[in-house]
Structures are given as structure tokens and as C-alpha cells.
Symmetry: C2
Subunit: 434 residues, 2 copies
């Protein structure tokens, strides 16, 4: 992926909602375009200026507002860094319903604005379910207070969802209210080897039934991903020292009773081994070993960056078809590039990465538009969790019908008639107001 | 509650999305108002005509379209009756993520359009999290195909949420795609008695931690609810034959391993008994006993209807303040009416019911607007799960800020400029286009 870098003459760091409102009111009246920016960890160029838009960086709005120790409802400003929130609620016996590799610098407002997914989605669902309320500032400076803290509220249209995942193009999220689940005491992690993709799929189905309520992550990586991590990251070791396998699966369980959970996981591994679904498997014996397992999965992106040029795709596909695309891509590219497949198998989310010595138009022509066409043909999504940003705005029709996109565009025009909010992003350029 | 009954010269039962589209296109061009109608089980007059609107009843669109036995994704038409879907997915080892008393006649399209809550929300979350996609027809007849089946899809604005809970006023939902979780084999139900509301609250906190991942329902009812059920429903018995208690709690657990779950629930009951949180408790020994426990909780609405006139309120409130309102109401009403409090404690959802021999303006004046003012003051919702419909459209400002309601109204005007879809409902009359 080519890195998107932008430049701007002006970066503002508002400290209050009122300041955000004043800035937007002014910019709207002068037709000045703005880019809302959180931790700037996005992968599709959504939070960088394209020309000379004013950057509104939310990092100074980083106060915790309230935390209810009974219900676990956290209310905070948009600029809070995810990892800080994770630590804070952890101290009170709760966990954040989302967790991602970028947690050390991404901000909750950015997570909400991009509908970030991550590792815990398989257990806790998407932010559309976990965000209880938010405050957003519209392009004209109007502050929309939807900062409720209730699990249930059916009074009128639930407009907060418009701001979840719209990448700052309909308004700037300034405060959020999140439901955090109680932290359960028992967490176990298993690292497993499978001989083929079909076994990974079958293992997922079995895990959903046999581990049921304690399953909290189901991730997979292929042989090429493992190879890459072992080559480029220091201190990473293959948990199965003797041999390489074709596929690896990480299964995490989270529950309230260590002994039961452990027995359940062990029984599951045993039956999977006997049934031939896994060829090897190891349960982390302590937190260090668990970290070393996670390091393999979470280190793939870093290893890819070190390996050279990388073309990144984040796709949702029906689980049974997901790996076909990786294999098709290998056929197309032959020896010119390495094709790496990994991701959130439990959610049907493939991170397809093509690693090459350098960016090359010939390689690129073999990848696009094929990857999008194939995904579209199989009714997948061309952006599972990364969003569209600048990079993929024009690709929206691969996953959305023309009438649906038209309706998005009407809503954009209603909320931001001058098109000042994050222009050139999300919606296709043919439909944007510029 | 006064029952809302309407009449119409015309009731249409389209069999296809195309027919819905043709009907709306015609009605829109002639400025004819329509009422979308599912099972007509709503409690706020949302699905009945006010004057002589054309009724579009969805009951004939009741086909299952696809069911993926791997992922549990069900795609079906809007007119499918919830109970039929429950049975269908059950046969394949899955469960619907929502369950409500009206399941025998309510339709999934109506459930989606009203964002129905019900008994399983505490475990599986709201329909905003469980509905993966939908198809809706706009007022002008445009069919918006958002019928995705993916867990994750961040390509543009997630507009399906506009149609979840907007009570048919922005479009008619014609098809839905739902994520159904695997059915777990072990279900246990306990009926418990608490001496006061504070104990119920504390029990909830403990249950969230100690039962954690297996907790699937946490319902409560007060002494007066029990009394009513015992008086008006035949064949219902108090599980604690010897004495009446002030509060009762139903705790359901759902998990994958009967022996562990049972031990966990028994240990929880024991420690709650020792800690003084519960004064008595019994675990259902078989499905019949479980049904008889649920009958008490689910029979309250029926018993209320038999007891005379009833004023019904469906409120979200912070759990710790929830029962204060019931007591305040008793103080206000004295001997003139019975005040009954029950509901989904796990979600902070109180069903407040006032039962009187007959409807009486004096009683009504003691209830409203006080009940709304009190709820608003405590930042609650005046409609947790029932919606606003006709009955509560003008009450929206008790729970939503003027700017938020203004934005709802703009969106209504954008999607339905002639105001033909379910007029006089949801939005306050001062803002509606008529």
C-alpha cells in the first residue's frame, strides 16, 4: 500500500465541544474544508488532508467524563486513546468491547467514526451495538447531543448510527458513551495447526458450538504469514518448533470459572485432534506465552512493512469462500509477489496482503480490479473494517447498490450541504458535492 | 391504556417487494397516506390508521429466502412470524437473537421496524447489532437493497440503521438478514425472592460477574405483579407456596455444558442466599417447571388486561433509580389505583403499569406528565422498547434534544417529502409535514 501523506497549513486542536462547533461554523461559512483526525492510524487515507484542508485533531479532548461502576457505562471525550480506556476500565473490573493492534495511539472517536472492528468483535459484536450514545458536531456547528447511557431507547430515529462508520464526513464525534462488559477472570489461549483451510472452517463451526459462550477470538493465519513473521520480527518463535503447518488458528476463551473453561478447551482440543481437524495444538501456560502467541498474529502487519512494498486488502467474504481468493491471487501473481492471508475467521474477515520487493504497476494490474470484482461477485465487502477513506471511495459500487449510494449522497448533502467535512472521502467522487 | 383502533377503506397485502414498490409509487404520486402493518401487536398505536390511511399489511410476504447452516445467517421476508422463524432455526440448531411475548403473531419486519427488545437483549444485544442487512422500499417506490449477510461491512454509511426502529415512517422493510447464534444445549432457570429492590440490584451486579458468559435473562417483578398474576390467571402458582416476598427475580442461563452451568448457578444461589441477597430460590427441575416460571413473568400483561383499565409505560432508567418511580407513583395515587413494576432489570427497562377499575381523568392527571418529567429528569427514556407510535409522538422531547429531533425531521423530509409514510407517528405533530 502506498502511504497516504497529506499536508495542511493549519492544524487545530480544540479542547471542548464548543470549540469544535466554533471552528466548524467558521469553516462552513467560509467554505473551508476540514479533515477530522483522531490517532491517524487508519489504513485508507481517511484522516489526512488531500489538498490543504484544515486538520481538526481531537487529541486534546481526552477527558473521561463518567464511569458507572454498576452498569459499566463509560462516557468520555473523543480524543481518549483506546489503550488508556482499556486500562481505566480494567482497573474497575470491566473490559472495552473492542481491541485492536493500534490501541496505543488510536482514539475512541476515530474508532467510532470508522466503526473499528478488531479482535473482540466475534464475542461482543460491532460498535453499532456497543455505543450507547454520542455527541457530534455538524458541519454548520450545530451540536447534536445523543449522549444517552441507556441500553434501550426507542424514542425516534436512532441517529447516532449515522455517525458510526461515516468517517467524519457527516459530523465530528466529540463524546461517546460505551457499554463495557464485566471483565471475566478466566482467559485462555490456544495456538493450533491445521493441515488445510477446510479444517480451519470446520474447526470454527465446532468451536462456536462446543466452546459456545466462552469463545472470545478465532483468528487464523496461513503458512506464508507465519514465515514472514519468523523472518522479519525479532524474538518470535514458531510454537511448533519441529515443523511448519499450512494453517494456524488462535482460539481465545473468556469466562468466569478457570477450571471449567480450561477443561472445556482441553476437551475441545482433544476431540479436534482425534477428529483430525487439527494436527497440533498448544494452550498458553502463562501470560508470557499468551503474549508470544498474540505477537505472531498481531505482528503480521509489522512484518509486512519490513518485507518491502505491500498491497493491503480488508475483505468480508462468506467463510467457505474466503481462502479461494488467496489461492486465485497466488495463481495470478506466480513468483512476482508473495500472497499472505490471515484475519478474523470468526467474523468472515480476510486480510489479504500482497508483498513485493517494490511497488510495481505490473503487479498492481494483476491485483486490481480483480480483487474487487471477485469479492463483489461473491457478495463480499471490499472493506470489512478499514472503511473507504480516500483510497477506496470510488470502489463503493463493488459492495453497495447504486440506489443505496445515491441515498448516502443525499444524506451527505442534507447534513453537510457545502461539503466541507472530509471531502474526497467515503463517497465516490462522481457523487461528491465538489 | 386506551386501545388504539383505526379504520381504513383499503387494506393491501402485497406478495412481493415489487408490489410494495408499485403501491408506494402510486400512493406517493397521489399523496395518499399509508400505514405499514406487521402483526399489529405494537403497544403505542404505530400500526393502525389514524384517519383513512391505506393499510399495507405485510403478512403475505412470509417466505424464508436462505439459511446458512454454517454461519447461522437467516434471510427472509418481512412478513414472517417470529415464532415460525424461532422454530425453523431451532430445527437447525440455532436460536433467534430476540424473543418476545407476542412472538406468535408479531412479524420480523415489524420487530425490525420497531427495534423490538424482549427477553434476550441482555445476552445478544439489540437488533442494531443482530440485523446484518435489509431491503426497504422508500416512499417514492425506490427499492433500497442493503440485504448483506456479512458480519462486517464498512463501505459507506450503514443506512440500514435508519430503518431499524423508525416505525415504518422512513420506508417499508421488505426483507431482512439476521445473525442467529448457535443454540446451546444447556438452559437453566431460577426463580428467586428478594426482600427489597436494593437486593435485586446487587443480585444483578453479582450475576453479571459470577454467571458472566452464561447469563441470558435477568427479569424482575414486584409483589403487586405476582399478586395480580395469581388473582387473574388460571393455573398459575407461586413457586414459594409458604409466603409472599417483596420482589422476585428470574435468572436464565444458557451455556454449552449442562453440568458446569448447573454447578455455577447452584453455587451462585448458595452464595446469594448466604450473603442475604435472596431470601428464597428454586431452580426449575424440568421444562414444565421452567414454563410455569416464565408464565408468571410473561402473564403479567394479560393479567393486567383482565384486571381492568391499565395505563402502560415502558421506561429505560438507570437501574439504581428505576424502582423509585414505582414508589413515587404509589404515593401519588394512594388507594385509587394499583401500581405494578416489572421488567428487564438486566437492561434497565421498567414496565410501569397502573391498574384501575376504569379509565379516569383524575387518575390520568396524577400520572402524566409526571411520569415523563421524572424519567426525563433522571435522563431515562420514555420508550425503552415499545417505540413512540401515535401515542407518544408528542412526548419525544422528554428523551431527545430539540436539535436531535430537528435532524430526525430533516431526514424524514428527505426520505418522504410528501409525508405519506405512517403520518402522525413517531415525530411530534408540530414538526410533521402535515
Amino acid at each position: 500500500m502506498r502511504k497516504y501523506r497529506g499536508s495542511s497549513k493549519l492544524l487545530l486542536q480544540p479542547r471542548t465541544t464548543n470549540e469544535v462547533s466554533q471552528i466548524l461554523k467558521y469553516c462552513n461559512s467560509r467554505l473551508l474544508a476540514v479533515v477530522p483526525q483522531g490517532g491517524n492510524t487508519g489504513l485508507v487515507g481517511g484522516s489526512v488532508p488531500v489538498f490543504d484542508e484544515v486538520i481538526i485533531n481531537m487529541g486534546s479532548m481526552n477527558n473521561l467524563i463518567t464511569f458507572d461502576k454498576g452498569s459499566g457505562v463509560l462516557v468520555c471525550e473523543a480524543g481518549c486513546i483506546l489503550e488508556n480506556l482499556v486500562s481505566f476500565v480494567d482497573d474497575h473490573g470491566f473490559i472495552m468491547p473492542l481491541d485492536l493492534g493500534a490501541k496505543g495511539s488510536c482514539q475512541i472517536g476515530g474508532n467510532v467514526s470508522t466503526n473499528a472492528g478488531g479482535l473482540r468483535l466475534v464475542r461482543y459484536g460491532s460498535l453499532h451495538g456497543n455505543i450507547l450514545g454520542l455527541e457530534a458536531v455538524l458541519a454548520n456547528g450545530d451540536v447534536i447531543d445523543m449522549l444517552g447511557t441507556l441500553r434501550k431507547d426507542n424514542t425516534g430515529y436512532d441517529l447516532k448510527h449515522l455517525f458510526i462508520g461515516s468517517e467524519g464526513s457527516l459530523g465530528i464525534v466529540t463524546k461517546v458513551s460505551i457499554h463495557t462488559p464485566p471483565k471475566l477472570s478466566s482467559v485462555n489461549l490456544a495456538f493450533l495447526a491445521c493441515k488445510d483451510y477446510f479444517s480451519c472452517q470446520k474447526l470454527l463451526r465446532e468451536a462456536k458450538r462446543k466452546l459456545g459462550e466462552i469463545l472470545s477470538a478465532f483468528e487464523f493465519l496461513d503458512n506464508q504469514s507465519m514465515d514472514l513473521v519468523l523472518t522479519y520480527l525479532e524474538g518470535v518463535r514458531n510454537p511448533f518448533s519441529s515443523s511448519m503447518h499450512n494453517f494456524y488458528v488462535l482460539i481465545e476463551t473468556t469466562g468466569s470459572e478457570e477450571s471449567y473453561d480450561r477443561e472445556k478447551l482441553e476437551a475441545f482440543l482433544l476431540s479436534s485432534m482425534e477428529g483430525g481437524l487439527i494436527s497440533d495444538g498448544v494452550i498458553a501456560q502463562d501470560i508470557n506465552q499468551a503474549s508470544s502467541f498474540w505477537r505472531i498474529r498481531e505482528g503480521i502487519a509489522e512484518a509486512l512493512m519490513k518485507a518491502g512494498a505491500v498491497y493491503k486488502y480488508d475483505l468480508s467474504l462468506p467463510v467457505e469462500k474466503m481462502y479461494d481468493l488467496v489461492e486465485k491471487m497466488r495463481q495470478r501473481l506466480g513468483e512476482t509477489a508473495k500472497v499472505i492471508g490471515y484475519g478474523h475467521l470468526g467474523d468472515g474477515n480476510l486480510h489479504l496482503n500482497i508483498s513485493a520487493p517494490r511497488y510495481d504497476d505490473m503487479i498492481f494490474a494483476q491485483i486490481e480490479p480483480y480483487v474487487y470484482e471477485w469479492t463483489s461477485e461473491h457478495r463480499g465487502s471490499i472493506s470489512a473494517e478499514h472503511g473507504l477513506g480516500l483510497m477506496k471511495a470510488n470502489k463503493i459500487f463493488y459492495s453497495k447498490s447504486p440506489k443505496t449510494v445515491q441515498l448516502m449522497s443525499s444524506i451527505k448533502k442534507l447534513l453537510d450541504p457545502n461539503g466541507i467535512l472530509n471531502p474526497y472521502k467515503v463517497l465516490p467522487h462522481s457523487l461528491s458535492s465538489h
